[in-house]
């Protein structure tokens, strides 16, 4: 196994100081507790991140002081609630550098964002004989919606490959592109391997053959932020609960001309312009794609989360996490028998690993008893597990609130797992 050279730990720990991790940790009430008598080490932010007090407060304040339905009430509270709610749309547009808040569609999560594109854009524009490209690291959320549509329409799904380190193979991707390619649906960061995908280059190449590009930003945005205009992708989706916001809310960004070409997704209130039995007309984007009462308090909570990470600064968060990643790589690769799955050069702070001679489920169970919360299994990426020829991994995914002590505890818990299991 490759020994990972600690990349400039000095720089990393300096930026960690600037970031003041100990004060950041105080923002997350859940981290203060003990699990089985040991202080909690939470390393499953990749599945869902913990919430800072400001997010919890924003949701509570909404319910306690101005909650009401949005977009319809002719009274003070509804107007206030609508204002706060709609401000978040603008805030998200700024965060991802979208041209306008009208490019920002509110969904229930990235899973719905992708299904929305499949069921509207996909259903209208994909034809039999067309091809779409996904990659072999995709989360099931970016595979199954396409397969469901494929069953109806009969287009082909091509699979872009990675190498054994988890690095995206740009050349083999290029070879898949042709005038038949209508869509590339790809993640910007593997939730299993941590690999950051070169989505800007992927988008440029896809556009050369006239294909649209959807980026699953569920993981990438949390660690590196996103600039949708710089990426030039046609769609970008992400999920609120992974970026320290509430569950039940997600975002779909779309380019305006593409959104305008798309039929509605679900039918209901809010998305219509005029309804009559003679025929119904629909609102312009983004409202056309938002039927029914939206997740109001969750959106407001997401606004607080976006403000929180923006105030900390995505570059600072990223530098802090990269410091942790380098430190964790150093410690874990020094432990005999630990195999890190995914050694790409550009990685987010996600480490999947196995311990030789043990089953990942046993390892995660021992870590849990040490108060270290990790995720184990296939991580909703079964095709990737097949590609790697493994049953699953233990995954430690770091968030902005993790510190070096957490890494030390992880390493110690791995040592304990080896003692108990081998």
């Amino acid at each position: 196994m490759n020994k990972v050279v600690p990349i400039d730990i000095q720089v990393a720990s300096n930026s960690m100081d600037a970031f003041d991790i100990e004060s950041v940790r105080k923002d997350f009430p859940i981290l203060k507790q003990d699990i089985y008598g040991k202080s909690l080490v939470f390393l499953d932010s990749g599945a869902s991140a913990q919430k800072p007090q400001v997010v919890i407060d924003a949701v509570r304040e909404c319910y306690e002081t101005y909650y009401s339905n949005v977009h319809r009430g002719a009274y003070f509270l509804s107007q206030k609630c609508t204002d706060v709610y709609e401000q978040v749309r603008g805030q998200i547009a700024t965060f991802i550098n979208a041209p306008s808040e009208n490019n920002v569609i509110i969904t229930s999560g990235v899973t719905e964002s992708i299904n929305l594109v499949a069921q509207t854009w996909g259903r209208k524009f994909l034809k039999k004989g067309d091809e779409i490209i996904v990659s072999e690291v995709e989360h099931h959320a970016n595979i199954v919606p396409w397969q469901l549509l494929q069953d109806e329409i009969g287009f082909d799904i091509k699979v872009a490959k990675i190498d054994d380190q988890g690095e995206f193979l740009l050349d083999t991707f290029k070879a898949l592109l042709s005038p038949k390619t209508k869509l590339v649906a790809i993640t910007d960061c593997s939730n299993v391997l941590g690999t950051m995908f070169p989505v800007k280059e992927i988008t440029r190449l896809a556009h050369e053959v006239g294909a649209k590009v959807l980026v699953d930003g569920a993981q990438g945005i949390v660690h590196k932020g996103a600039d949708v205009q710089d990426l030039d992708c046609d769609f970008y989706g992400f999920t609120g609960h992974k970026i320290y916001g509430p569950t039940g809310v997600g975002i779909l960004y779309g380019k305006m001309d593409v959104l305008k070409s798309m039929p509605p997704y679900q039918g209901g209130g809010d998305m219509i312009e005029k309804v009559s039995f003679a025929g119904t007309t629909f609102q312009e984007p983004p409202y056309r794609f938002e039927a029914g009462t939206p997740p109001i308090a969750q959106v407001i909570g997401l606004g607080a989360a976006i403000k929180y990470v923006s105030d900390l600064g995505m570059e600072n968060i990223s530098a802090h996490e990269q410091g942790l990643l380098a430190y964790a790589n150093e410690l874990l690769s020094a432990i005999e028998g630990v195999q890190i799955i995914g050694q790409a050069k550009d990685k987010a702070a996600i480490i999947s690993f196995l311990i030789e001679g043990t089953h990942p489920f046993d390892v995660a169970a021992v870590l849990d008893r040490q108060g270290v919360a990790t995720r184990v299994g296939q991580h909703c990426a079964e095709p990737l597990m097949d590609r790697l020829g493994i049953v699953g991994t233990v995954r430690a995914s770091f968030g902005l609130y993790n510190n070096k002590d957490d890494v030390d505890r992880l390493a110690a818990a791995i040592g304990r797992a080896k003692e108990l299991l081998l």
């Binding site: 089985y36 043990t358 089953h359 489920f361 046993d362 169970a365 849990d368 008893r369 184990v376 299994g377 049953v391 108990l420 299991l421």
Partner: protein
């Protein structure tokens, strides 16, 4: 609650005597380590004996001798292997009728509090499988599933 089998009583007593959750957890790991590969030969680790819906792979078998059921269990993960061995040992030697009287309380009495809910659910699923084996007079899990056992 009636006593089930001597083996069951042994497990229940041993686990009751351990008053530390971590130690109980380690006891199960030791149980798993004690199961040797030859206790559940490769030839039995076939899809037909595989339990569905488990996070790790679990195989269960039932051998009927003199009207009594003798179970064995195996897994590729140590903890689950320990649990499967304990469950199989606890409820082996019972007749079909006796098996039908088992309830989830019998599993609860084993005092496996150190396990996550998911694993406790897995143990209840094993118990259900044993009872189904009982009703169908043995066979493989695949036969149970297809209703041909």
């Amino acid at each position: 609650m009636n006593s089930i089998t001597p083996q069951y009583e042994d497990y229940a007593d041993a686990l009751e005597m351990i008053d530390d959750e971590d130690m109980r957890f380690e006891y199960i790991i030791d149980m798993g380590k004690k199961v040797k590969d030859e206790d559940f030969p490769e030839a039995l680790r076939i899809d037909a004996n595989l339990m569905h819906g488990c996070m790790s792979r679990v195989w269960l078998c039932d051998e009927v001798r003199d009207g009594k059921h003798y179970f064995s269990g195996f897994s590729d993960a140590i903890i689950v292997k320990g649990l499967a061995a304990m469950m199989a040992g606890s409820f082996s030697g019972l007749t079909t009728d006796e098996l039908q009287e088992l309830t989830t309380d019998h599993v609860r009495r084993l005092n496996l509090g150190a396990l996550t809910t998911q694993r406790q659910v897995g143990m209840m699923a094993m118990l259900e499988t044993f009872k189904k084996f009982g009703m169908s007079g043995g066979g493989t899990l695949a036969q149970l599933r297809s209703g041909s056992a």
